[in-house]
């Protein structure tokens, strides 16, 4: 068992790769009540095109199938309710699907071994039938309809559809009401067998447990099961340059005041995991300098009533896709867009002091250490970065080597042809109603 010490953070991580290929990470936290375990596969909503296990042909599957599969894992042949089984053991089970992974998890303040076996067993025993697929289509349709009512979700998706042509990231993790109707139990099995092989999975356990004992339990569980010989999974993505599909689109919804998402698309990169994380940090610092709460622009936008406290910025930068987006409610959509556009384009002419740069570094350090209070944050984010081949707990050492020049180098990413705005305006009839909301 490999032992990785992070002295500054006062954490020790244990790691072992099992014979069947499963990567196991254990992080004991003896003063916590809770143990939190995540069993995840490198398979998310962007994995639409791949070569199934045992086939040479690339296939394309309906959007939302990874999320659908996650829902269906909670059913077993005996008709047991998996949530119920965890609850009986005093554990709380859950799962989530993101762009790059599907994660199954539980947390408990009780005994850990039994729920741990249950977690490994139910995820490794699929049971899909045509009947339960049809039933699930109804449930997921309701879930998707609920998101359609949420202006924040609509704004985000609208922006993504504006900037990307074909990249898989532009589709909601859950797919669409239409795409999920194309899902069959056969397709689910194809995806399952391809992506749920232990060699494509990782287990992260954090909390109050004995490391040796838990590792033995996981090994014993896996040792009893047989898996076919794994072959590397071939996947295909639509990577793009920075040109956006459309610069502007607006829709109407039942909301109180207009909302805008304005941002910049980044081209695909082909960088090492350290380099891409460093670049993402650099862009975040650049954005914090120009649009963070301590920036002149933020102050000016508030003074001029262009934004309110709903204003938020986000930066995502990975090899296959990336963007910067600023979102806000505003009564003056055009002024907001014009303001953001001109400030983004003039960043390169504005002085960025070393003093400010050091302050932004302090923010990254403080924010990171504070988040380590949460075992959920550590487990979920560790796995997220693991999927990107990066060790989360090394973030601060990457930051140490980051210079102001690295930050300024990313200025070239902010081009006019890479900019786009998505707007939601209130429906006429409803905005009258909302005025009387006092």
């Amino acid at each position: 068992m490999e032992q990785i010490k992070y002295t500054d953070l006062k954490e020790t991580l244990y790691h072992e790769k099992l014979e069947n290929g499963l990567e196991v990470y254990l992080l004991p936290k003896h003063n916590f009540f809770k143990t939190y375990a995540v069993f995840a596969t490198r398979y998310g909503s962007v994995d639409h095109m791949f070569r199934p296990l045992g086939s040479n042909k690339l296939i394309s599957v309906p959007a939302g199938i990874a999320h659908f599969l996650e829902h269906k894992m909670f059913e077993d042949a005996a008709g047991k309710n998996i949530f119920n089984e965890f609850a009986k053991l005093g554990a709380d089970a859950n799962a989530y699907t993101s762009y790059n992974m599907t994660a199954y998890l539980f947390s408990t303040t009780n005994e850990v071994t039994k729920p741990l076996h249950l977690l490994l067993d139910y995820v490794q025993e699929p049971y899909f039938t045509e009947d339960n697929v049809i039933k699930e289509q109804g449930i997921i349709e309701q879930e998707l309809l609920m998101y359609l009512d949420d202006p924040s979700d609509r704004l985000h998706l609208g922006f993504m559809k504006n900037i990307f042509f074909k990249n898989e990231i532009k589709t909601d993790v859950g797919g669409t009401v239409r795409s999920i109707k194309q899902i069959t139990s056969d397709l689910l099995y194809t995806c399952y067998h391809t992506f749920y092989h232990p060699s494509n999975m990782v287990m992260f356990v954090i909390g109050n447990f004995d490391v040796e004992h838990i590792l033995e339990e996981i090994k014993a569980n896996q040792g009893k099961k047989e898996f076919p010989v794994a072959s590397p999974i071939k996947r295909k993505y639509h990577t793009e340059n920075e040109i956006v599909k459309r610069a502007y689109k607006e829709i109407q919804m039942s909301i109180s005041s207009p909302r805008v998402a304005f941002g910049v698309k980044f081209p695909a990169f082909d960088l090492s995991s350290d380099e891409i994380v460093k670049k993402e940090l650099a862009v975040s610092i650049l954005i914090d300098e120009f649009f963070g709460k301590g920036s002149l622009n933020y102050e000016e936008m508030l003074e001029q009533k262009i934004i309110n406290s709903s204003f938020k910025v986000a930066t995502v930068l990975e090899n296959n896709y990336g963007y910067f987006v600023a979102k806000t409610e505003t009564e003056d959509v055009d002024r907001f867009i014009q303001y953001m556009k001109s400030k983004l384009l003039s960043m390169k002419e504005t002085h960025f002091s070393q003093e400010n740069f050091l302050r932004h570094k302090k923010v990254v350090i403080g924010d990171f250490i504070r988040r380590l209070n949460s075992v959920e944050f550590i487990a979920n984010t560790y796995i997220d970065y693991y999927m990107r081949d990066f060790d989360l707990l090394k973030v601060l050492s990457i930051l140490e080597h980051l210079t102001l020049d690295d930050v300024l180098d990313t200025l070239t990413l902010f081009k006019e042809e890479a900019m786009s705005a998505f707007v939601i305006k209130p429906k006429k009839k409803v905005s009258r109603k909302s005025n009387s909301l006092t």
Binding site: A93, Q142, M146, E299, G366, I369, V430, K433
Partner: protein, 432 residues
């Protein structure tokens, strides 16, 4: 984890020593009796105090100071608890042990907190008009924006309709027209009251550096404690004579159903723990009755759950449903409650629910804010804190007590936010 409680000069100080977190969290609460007439003043005051100080006269300079403190998080919130107004000032910052820094962040943070509390930005002795205007605009925008979160919006509407004539139904931040009328002098008056007439408590959680805190807390942060009575329980209630049923049309894809019940079981009363178990058993987890029957068996809802207002005596069932299934969902919800009132509950579900509740309770102790919340609640309502006893009280709840608690539920208001016209569920309008 050890808890140290002291009361000095009428200020309650609670130190929670634990080395599990990498931060120090300080929370200072100022409690006053709630007043409908001045609530908007305090709501805006909290925001203006978060906006700027004498030394950091703009949002920008205040933000930059927080960044210099390694992204310390400053919170100034205003809320109503029972019949009290509570202004909470909180600061979370990194424990010095984790920083390779020469100077003490702890001392700097305390000094900064004092600046926020005791040195607000004043112009000729009053709060600044322009800062007030800025925060007024932002607060009104946030209130209007609540309409966009349809679940929250529907819940608020239901609460307001159900408690129309009671304090609980009054808007916490005041009405928009009240907010529009606040003057700088109102803030100055509210600030004086807050500083000189409120009940004050300080909670600190973390691997507390005794030297920094014991030597500096009192000297650095000046506070005037008061020995006043503040009621954190709101036991105002009324007899339900007929069920209110409100159907409001709004272009939503998924209808939001809220069902409000009254109960006389409040925190500190004998059936309190039975009510906690009942609420969770009905809609608190994935094996609860509502989740199992309405979502899983009948596929009638995407989300369904219960909320129990423990210092008011209200239980709300919230669900996201297809509007066309409104009557069916209502019937099933009432059927489940009637079944429990009639004594039908599986023992297994009771045990499972207790296990879940105690699991949730312990999990709260794994986050600084969860810890403060639960310790504060116990100290406020009981005067002492005993985790073992809390868990035992949950375990000791009997089936009979749960049935008894269920019999206190009286349906008061049904509220549906719907995308299409639907007929009323309660045709006879009789009490249930």
């Amino acid at each position: 984890m050890t808890i140290e409680k002291t009361i000095q000069n009428h200020i309650e100080k609670v130190f929670v020593y634990t080395d599990k977190f990498k931060t120090i969290n300080i929370n200072i609460a100022f409690e006053l009796p709630f007043s409908v007439d001045t609530t908007a003043h305090f709501a805006l005051l909290a925001r203006v105090l978060r906006n700027s100080t004498e030394k950091y006269p703009s949002k920008r300079s205040l933000s930059q100071k927080l960044q210099d403190l390694y992204d310390a998080r400053l919170g100034l919130t205003y809320n109503r608890v029972g019949k009290a107004s509570v202004v909470s000032v909180s600061l979370t910052f990194i424990n010095d042990q984790y920083l390779q820094s020469e100077s003490s962040l702890c001392y700097e943070a305390l000094t900064f907190l004092n600046e926020v509390i005791n040195h607000p930005l004043l112009e000729n002795g009053h709060f600044s008009k322009s800062k007030l205007e800025e925060e007024r605009r932002l607060l009104i925008d946030e209130i209007k924006s609540m309409y966009n979160n349809k679940s929250r919006f529907a819940l608020n509407e239901m609460i307001e309709a159900m408690f129309k004539e009671e304090l609980y139904g009054k808007k916490i931040y005041g009405t928009v027209s009240q907010i529009e009328q606040v003057e700088p002098s109102d803030l100055t008056r509210a600030y004086q009251i807050l500083m000189n007439q409120s009940k004050i408590s300080i909670y600190v959680v973390g691997d507390i550096d005794k030297e920094c805190f014991e030597n500096n807390l009192d000297q650095t942060i000046r506070l005037n404690g008061n020995n006043i009575e503040v009621s954190l329980i709101d036991d105002e209630t009324k007899e339900v004579t007929s069920i209110k049923e409100i159907i409001r049309l709004d272009p939503v894809n998924q209808a939001k159903l809220n069902i409000g019940f009254r109960t006389n079981v409040l925190v500190g009363t004998p059936l309190y723990y039975a009510m906690l178990v009942l609420g969770s058993l009905l809609g608190g987890h994935a094996n609860s009755r509502f989740f199992d029957v309405i979502r899983e068996k009948h596929s009638l809802a995407y989300s369904i759950g219960t909320i129990y207002g423990l210092n008011k005596g209200v239980m709300v069932v919230m669900a996201g449903i297809d509007a066309g299934k409104y009557h069916q969902v209502m019937d099933l919800v009432m059927q489940e409650i009637h079944a429990i009132q009639a004594g039908t509950i599986e023992d297994e579900l009771i045990e499972l629910t207790k296990l879940t509740l105690n699991n949730e309770l312990l999990e709260l102790f794994d986050s600084p804010s969860g810890m403060v919340g639960i310790i504060q609640k116990e100290l406020d309502f009981l005067g002492y804190f005993d985790l073992e006893q809390m868990m035992k009280l949950v375990k000791d709840v009997t089936k009979e007590e749960i049935i008894e608690a269920s019999k206190t539920l009286v349906l008061d208001t049904v509220y549906l936010l719907s995308g299409k016209e639907v007929s009323k569920w309660n045709k006879s309008n009789t009490q249930i």
